[in-house]
Symmetry: C2
Subunit: 319 residues, 2 copies
């Protein structure tokens, strides 16, 4: 009786695994799993006897059936090729983000047990002209291949849920800030970089205009919401399983002000502002604010303000 976490070796996946272990037996509604299987291109860094690792590529033919076997209570599908790489390498992105998702859903269906299936989607499904505040009924018009594949994955999870093949929950994640470590291939990677690098005394670049609005969540808030997504009753979500996870709407300029307040003027001075067309084109196609009344009513949460997000990172990662 286990929970599967694809992308379990990654930043988000390993944190979800730690949070699941801590929430086991404490969080109402969370399936009473005995073990967690991490599935990723590398072994999971979490050292716990209940956690094991399967190394491989979810899109590889036949692999998904080894990932989701009978006795799987729930699946987190977090593994993905990120937005920057998906735009640069179309076929790689489609293979992992679309075919990989479908293979996992098929494996879950084959168990005949309709496991809970939490799919990490993204605000990148949106594009084009958008209202100031995005309602739940706004059509995805992705302006990136990453967003297109995620939007297709959302439709699959919903149809597999409607048919009773899985008990799905689609979580459109805000941009996660501040991620520790190195920049990644996401177009939004700068959003962590402009806080993380200066706090470490390193220069960084803001590639989008200061007035660009971003929909942000701290790692702690996203991880808490992903655990909640596995615990909440499917019937409470209703027939349509896609949720815009709560976040905070912050402009790039306001992020730099938070950096100055929490990290000081010297840190702020380390951020230059050189526009990068490739990044701006993708990131500026994403919405900055959402109506999240329904997810909040379902018990999902968000950060207080962005200063607190920067402090959370500083207190945990900066000595």
């Amino acid at each position: 009786m286990r929970i599967v976490v694809t992308g379990g070796a990654g930043f988000l996946g390993s944190r979800v695994i730690r949070a699941l272990l801590a929430a086991r037996g404490r969080k109402e509604g969370l399936p009473a799993f005995e073990s967690i299987l991490s599935v990723d291109l590398a072994p999971c860094p979490v050292e716990d006897p209940r956690v094991s690792s399967l190394v491989g590529d979810v899109a590889e033919p036949g692999f998904a059936a080894r990932v989701v076997e009978a006795g799987t209570l729930g699946v987190y599908h977090l593994a993905a090729v990120l937005s920057g790489q998906s735009e640069a390498e179309f076929d790689v992105g489609m293979r992992v983000n679309l075919d990989g998702t479908r293979a996992l859903l098929e494996a879950a269906r084959a168990t005949g047990e309709a496991p809970r299936f939490v799919f990490a989607s993204s605000v990148a499904v949106f594009g084009g002209e958008m209202p100031e505040v995005v309602p739940e009924t706004l059509a995805p018009m992705p302006a990136s291949s990453y967003g297109a594949a995620k939007a297709m994955g959302e439709l699959l999870v919903n149809d597999y849920s409607r048919r009773g093949f899985v008990d799905g929950r689609v979580c459109r994640l805000p941009t996660i800030v501040v991620r520790p470590g190195k920049p990644n291939s996401a177009a939004s990677s700068f959003a962590s970089g402009i806080i993380r690098e200066p706090l470490a005394g390193v220069a960084s670049n803001l590639p989008v205009p200061r007035e660009t609005r971003l929909w942000l969540s701290s790692p702690d808030a996203v991880v808490g919401n992903l655990v909640h997504a596995m615990a909440v009753e499917g019937a409470r979500i209703g027939p349509w399983r896609t949720l815009n996870l709560p976040g905070v709407c912050v402009t790039a300029g306001a992020m730099l002000e938070s950096l100055a307040r929490v990290g000081g003027a010297a840190a702020r001075a380390l951020v230059r502002e050189e526009p990068e067309e490739r990044v701006a084109r993708i990131v500026c196609s994403w919405p900055g604010d959402f109506d999240v009344a329904r997810p909040l009513a379902l018990g999902f949460t968000r950060d207080g303000d962005f200063d607190g997000v920067v402090r959370q990172y500083r207190d945990e990662f900066v000595r």
Copy 2:
């Protein structure tokens, strides 16, 4: 220099082929094709030296590359497993409606010539609670596997267009009424049946409530719009290529009144009203009315009223 029509042996495809032959050299913007290739499970019934047939299944590995070769000016992708069968046979529907569409798009991409690509989608992409009149920005929340696969196909055509692999046009077709011939596996098949059968002196059934609103188009109007979709400049459509084709909003009850007016009381008396849960669940999930200001401004058209649609059928098919 040819145009490819998948589903070219079918009711709609064969009419599109005839209309293309008639419009060649007359309709502004229509690519100056030399030949038309029909691709279907049967040969195309249109007898014209410019029309040839390729018999096969677009989802069969390797087949799509034979369908869309260099020198293809445009593709109509009309072939599909219909809504009733897609719901009954999930894997068949996904294979043809999703994988088949993707294979054709890949074949078009492989030519390096970005051919025009007209994809027939459907109002079945919508579901759940809907406003009285559906705006262009309403999120597809399909309540059928047919609608889910079509919604995924729409996303593919848009992303392939955005990347310059094809020059796509997604046409969400209204329910086509009156189709001649026999009932088909679409859940909306009754909408033709309740007109066609009584006009031939045969009994028919209305399986949905009289107040059910349907979004309808005559075959002539849909065929004209599909020809127009190939002719219109992509740049005029804009970056998002999905269009709700114009139709007329008619209740099932009003359809029966048209039948009485055009076909007489004896024809009307041949329609019984026995609810069919399987049909009603799918058809009642579709919207009944749309904001079509943009497609009308782009030159797409619709029928005048439903009496005229019934008369069009009677004059052509009833002796």
